[in-house]
């Protein structure tokens, strides 16, 4: 087939271009991932006692994970469109992480020196990042599905952003089941779980997002 004939064929009755493709794919992906992760956290680990919500601890986690998820969602939507600028969402996502690290460091410094290690490690430093990573998997699958319907041209970065998005959703859900209250714990171990999800995404991106 000549290129000229191909052009005729593509144009004929093409109709209007589909609109809001990123929103149409990413909304169900994130909503579905969040529902599965919340259900997983509550069924698998169980909810924290209601009185813990009187402490700022859980709210710091929700705020951190929620803001990071919003920034990463914006980032993924941009990475799904060829030539769209991605610096602004990347900076916002990075800024949220840095703010959490600073908050964690400040909180840690206000604790007496000999208690700092116990505060930082809590009683669940090992299971926390693993749980966040596991709870991120439904959203990771959904975000990859969404990106496969879009046109990412930077596959590793798109995979990483999808992983951060999934990790933030996983962290948000895990906060329902996590009774650690120290901001320094959140800054290190939640971020660790989110980072692991990001790395997993970056690893899978070039393999799964090709088109």
């Amino acid at each position: 087939m000549k290129t000229e004939s191909l052009i005729d064929m593509l144009a004929r009755q093409a109709g209007p271009a589909p609109r809001a493709m990123a929103a149409r794919r990413l909304t169900p992906a994130v909503a579905g991932g969040l529902v599965l992760a919340v259900a997983g956290a509550l069924a698998w680990i169980g909810p924290i006692p209601a009185e813990l919500y009187a402490d700022p601890g859980p709210w710091i986690k929700f705020g951190y994970a929620g803001l990071l998820a919003a920034a990463a969602l914006w980032w993924v939507a941009r990475l799904g469109r060829p030539a769209a600028p991605v610096a602004a969402p990347a900076r916002v996502a990075g800024g949220v992480v840095v703010a959490m690290l600073l908050l964690g460091a400040a909180a840690l410094l206000s604790v007496p020196g000999d208690e700092r290690m116990d505060t930082l490690m809590g009683h669940s430093w090992l299971s926390c990042p693993v749980s966040v990573l596991v709870l991120s998997l439904p959203t990771l699958a959904g975000a990859f599905w969404a990106l496969r319907g879009l046109a990412p041209t930077r596959l590793r970065l798109a995979g990483f952003a999808a992983g951060v998005l999934a990790g933030a959703v996983g962290a948000f859900s895990y906060a329902l089941s996590c009774d650690e209250l120290a901001p320094s714990f959140v800054a290190v171990w939640y971020t660790g779980g989110i980072g692991a999800a990001g790395l997993l995404g970056a690893l899978l991106g070039p393999r799964l997002l090709r088109w």
Binding site: M1, K2, T3, E4, S5, L6, I7, D8, M9, L10, A11, R12, Q13, A14, G15, P16, A17, P18, R19, M21, A22, G80, R81, P82, A83, A84, L150, A151, T153, R210, W211
Partner: protein, 188 residues
């Protein structure tokens, strides 16, 4: 003429056509794709000096990709950046498929792109999309042939085949996606 002026010319001519095409204007879409094809040929020729026989195939593959992904263009952004980002992606992918790792180090930027003489004429494609079309599942092939080649309206095609109008649209879209996937398989 300097580079920026050449690019601005291309963009300012293309953008209004493209916006009408995105809103559903078929004639504007055809003209926009023609201009894009010429631009793609000169963009890719310069970067495919080691693979000249693949040039027209990659132009066709990129056009097919542009069509399938037209919903990802943001009207606030230049059409040409969007087109070239996709062309570059397809080019890198072709090199990767050919195992030409060293080619990834070739300069991919826009330097002197417009200094190249514009070669508007169409080369010959090695791969025949018409042939690949025949290999699609029957319902998809039929929907494409009726609406996109014979030019029947979706309603007429639905009547002719007994399928619903939305089924025809879905078959056309799936068929073109399948066609793009076959194109990739073939050039591996």
């Amino acid at each position: 003429m300097n580079h920026d002026a050449a690019r601005d010319d291309f963009e300012s001519g293309l953008k209004p056509l493209w916006l009408r095409a995105q809103a559903g204007d078929e004639a504007a879409y055809r003209e926009a794709l023609r201009r894009i094809a010429v631009r793609l040929r000169s963009y890719l020729r310069r970067r495919m000096q080691s693979l000249p026989d693949d040039l027209e195939d990659l132009v066709q593959e990129t056009l097919l990709a542009l069509h399938l992904q037209r919903g990802t263009h943001d009207p606030a952004l230049p059409v040409s950046s969007w087109v070239l980002a996709i062309a570059r992606h397809k080019l890198v992918d072709l090199w990767r498929r050919r195992g030409r790792q060293e080619a990834l180090h070739d300069p991919l930027d826009e330097l002197e792109d417009h200094a190249m003489p514009v070669a508007a004429e169409e080369g010959s494609a090695r791969r025949d999309l018409g042939q690949l079309l025949q290999e699609l599942p029957e319902a998809q092939r039929r929907a494409i042939v009726l609406t996109k080649i014979e030019g029947l309206s979706v309603a007429e095609a639905a009547q002719r085949t007994g399928a619903s109008e939305s089924a025809i649209k879905v078959q056309v879209h799936r068929g073109l996606k399948r066609l793009a996937a076959k194109v990739k398989e073939e050039s591996t």
